[in-house]
Subunit: 189 residues, 4 copies
C-alpha cells in the first residue's frame, strides 16, 4: 500500500497522458493504473482538468528545478551554459519516465490554464536566457530566439521520445555527440 495516493495518481496519469493523450485517457483507467478507486481521484483533484494542470505544473516545476541545479555562473562561457541546459533536460528526461513527452505533447493544449502556460513560458525563458546571451556575445546565430529555441527544444523532444520508444538506443557518448550537434545548429560558424 502506498503512502501517498496523490503521487500514485499523478504518476499513473503521467504515463497514460504521455501514451494516449489527455482526451484519450479515461479517469477510471487512471484509477486502475494508480490502484485506487475512481472516486479517490476526486478527493485529490476537483476534476480531470485540474488533474492535468496539476500534473503539468508539477512536471514543469521539476524540470525547472533540475535546470536550476548546479547552474554555471552567469559569467561562464555560453558553451558551458548550453551544455548545462542540454544535459539537465536530458537528465530529467531519463529520470522521470514520460514527463518530457507529456509536456511536449500537451503544452499547446486548450485545457491548460493560464498558470500552466505561464510556467511553461518560464521554462522556455531559461533556454532563452542562454540563447540571448549567446547572441549578444556573437557566439550564437543572430536569428529570432524562438527559432533557435524551436530547433534545440524540438530536436531534444524528438530525441528523448525516440529513446523512450526504443527507436533510438542510448549508447555511451551518444548524448555528448548529440549535444555537440545541437550546439552546432545554433552557433555562429
Amino acid at each position: 500500500m502506498s503512502k501517498n495516493k496523490r503521487m500514485d495518481i499523478l504518476e499513473a496519469a503521467l504515463e497514460l497522458f504521455a501514451e494516449r493523450g489527455y482526451d484519450g485517457t479515461t479517469v477510471p483507467t487512471i484509477a486502475d493504473q494508480a490502484q485506487v478507486g475512481a472516486g479517490t481521484i476526486y478527493r485529490y483533484f476537483a476534476n480531470k482538468e485540474v488533474l492535468v494542470n496539476s500534473l503539468f505544473q508539477e512536471c514543469i516545476q521539476q524540470l525547472t528545478n533540475t535546470l536550476m541545479t548546479n547552474v554555471p555562473p552567469a559569467a561562464a562561457p555560453i558553451r558551458e551554459r548550453f551544455k548545462h541546459i542540454f544535459f539537465r533536460i536530458s537528465e530529467y528526461a531519463g529520470a522521470r519516465g514520460q514527463a518530457l513527452t507529456f509536456i511536449a505533447s500537451h503544452s499547446d493544449a486548450p485545457f491548460l490554464n493560464e498558470s500552466s502556460r505561464e510556467m511553461f513560458e518560464q521554462f522556455l525563458d531559461l533556454i532563452r536566457g542562454v540563447i540571448d546571451e549567446g547572441k549578444e556575445q556573437g557566439m550564437i546565430c543572430p536569428l529570432p530566439s524562438n527559432a533557435l529555441i524551436a530547433m534545440v527544444y524540438g530536436a531534444m523532444v524528438q530525441l528523448f521520445n525516440m529513446m523512450k520508444t526504443g527507436a533510438l538506443e542510448e549508447t555511451p557518448g551518444l548524448l555528448a555527440q548529440i549535444e555537440e550537434c545541437c550546439w552546432n545548429a545554433i552557433r555562429v560558424h
Copy 2:
C-alpha cells in the same frame, strides 16, 4: 456549395485534429466545420478511426509527393539533396494548413493502423536516404540515423508549428538561415 464533400470533411478534420487532437474532436464538430450533416461523414468513412487514418495517409502521401517533386539526381551533392528535403517539407507546411502539425502530433497514436505507420516510415525513409548517403560520403556525422532524423525532423516540426501559431514570424531569408542551421547540426565539422 462544394463539389467534393469528401475533401471538405478531410479538410475540416485536418484543422480540428491539428488543433484539439483526434480524441478531443467530435464527429459532429467535424460535420459542422465541413458544413455537412453528421451522417454524411459516414457515407465517406466507415467510422472515425477510418477517417483519421485516411486523413493521415492522404497527408503523408501529399508530403511524400511533394518530396518527390523536382528531386535532385542521386548523384547531386548531399548538401543540395538536404536542401531539397528541407525546402520541400517547408513548402508543404506552408501550403497545407496544419498538415505537418497534424502528422507530427498523431504519428505515434495508437489508433493508426499498420498502413498508416508504414507510410510514415516510408516518409522518414526519404530523409534517411539522404542522411545515410551523407554519412557514407563522410559529409554527415556518423551517428545513428534515427538520431539525426530526430534532430532535423523535430526541429522542423517545432519551427513550422511556431509559425502557424504566430510565435515565429516568417521573414525573407529566415528559412534559408534555419536550413543552414539544421544542416550545421548534422554535418561533419
Copy 3:
C-alpha cells in the same frame, strides 16, 4: 410513435417529479417513462435543471392561462371573482395530471431560476389581486394578503393532492361546498 418528443419528456418528468421529487428522479427514469433514449432528453434540454425549470414555467403558464380564461369583469362582485379563481385552479388540477402537486412541491426549490420564481409570483399575484380588492371593499378580512393567500392556496393544494392519491373522492357538489368553505375562511363575518 409520438409526434412531439419534447412533450413526451415533459409529461414523463411531470409525473415523476410530482411523485418522487426532482432529486429523487433520475434522468434515465424520465427517458424510460417518456419512451425515448437518455440522450434524446439532452437534445431538448441542456441539462436536468433546465428541464425542471422549463417544466415548471410551462405548468405555471398553463395555470395562469387557465386563470385568465373567462375572467369576470373587474367590476364583478368579489365573490364571483373568487369563485372564478377557485374553479379555474380546480379545473386545471383536474385537467393536467399532477401539475398542481408538482408546482406546490417545487416552488421553493433551490434549483428554480429567477424566471421560474418570477412566474410563480405572478401567478400568486392573480390571487392577490382579488384578495386585495376584496379587502378594500371590506368583503375580505383585513389580514396580510400573504396570510390569506396561504390559507386558500394551501388548502387547495392539499385538497387536490388528496384527490389525486385517492384519499378524497370527488363527489358531485363537493367542490362547490369546499369553495364555500375557502371563501368563509377569508371573508368578513
Copy 4:
C-alpha cells in the same frame, strides 16, 4: 462539544431535509452541519433511510405529544378543542425550527416506512377526532373529514412555511385571527 451527537445529527438533518429535501441532501453535508464525522452518523443510524424515518417519527412524536398536552376535556366545546389543536401545532411550529415544513414535505415520500406512515395517520387522527365530533354536534360542515382536514392542515402548513421564509411576519394577534379564519372555513354557518 455536544453531549448528544445523535441529537446533533437529527437536528442537522431536520434543517437540511426541510430546506433541500431528503434526496437533495447528502450524508456528508449532514455530518458537516452536525459537526461530526461522516462515519459517526452510521453509529447512530443504519443508513440514510433509517435516519429520515427516525427523524420523521421523532418529529411526529413531538408534535403528537404537544397536541396531547393540556388537552381540553372531551366534553369541552368543539370550538375550544379546535383552538387547542391550532395553537398547539402553531406552538410546535414555532418551537422546533423547520419540523412542520419537514413533515409536510416528506409525509408522502416513498422512502417512509409503514411505521412512519402509521404515526402520521395517528397525528391526523387527532385532528380528525375533533372534526368528527364537531360534525356530529352539527358545529362543523358535513363534508368528508379528509376534506376538512386538508383545508385546515394545508392552510397551516403553508402559513408556517411562509413565516419561516419571512414571507409573512408574525405580529401580535395575527395567529388568533388566522385561527378564527380556519375555524370559519369548516364551521357550519
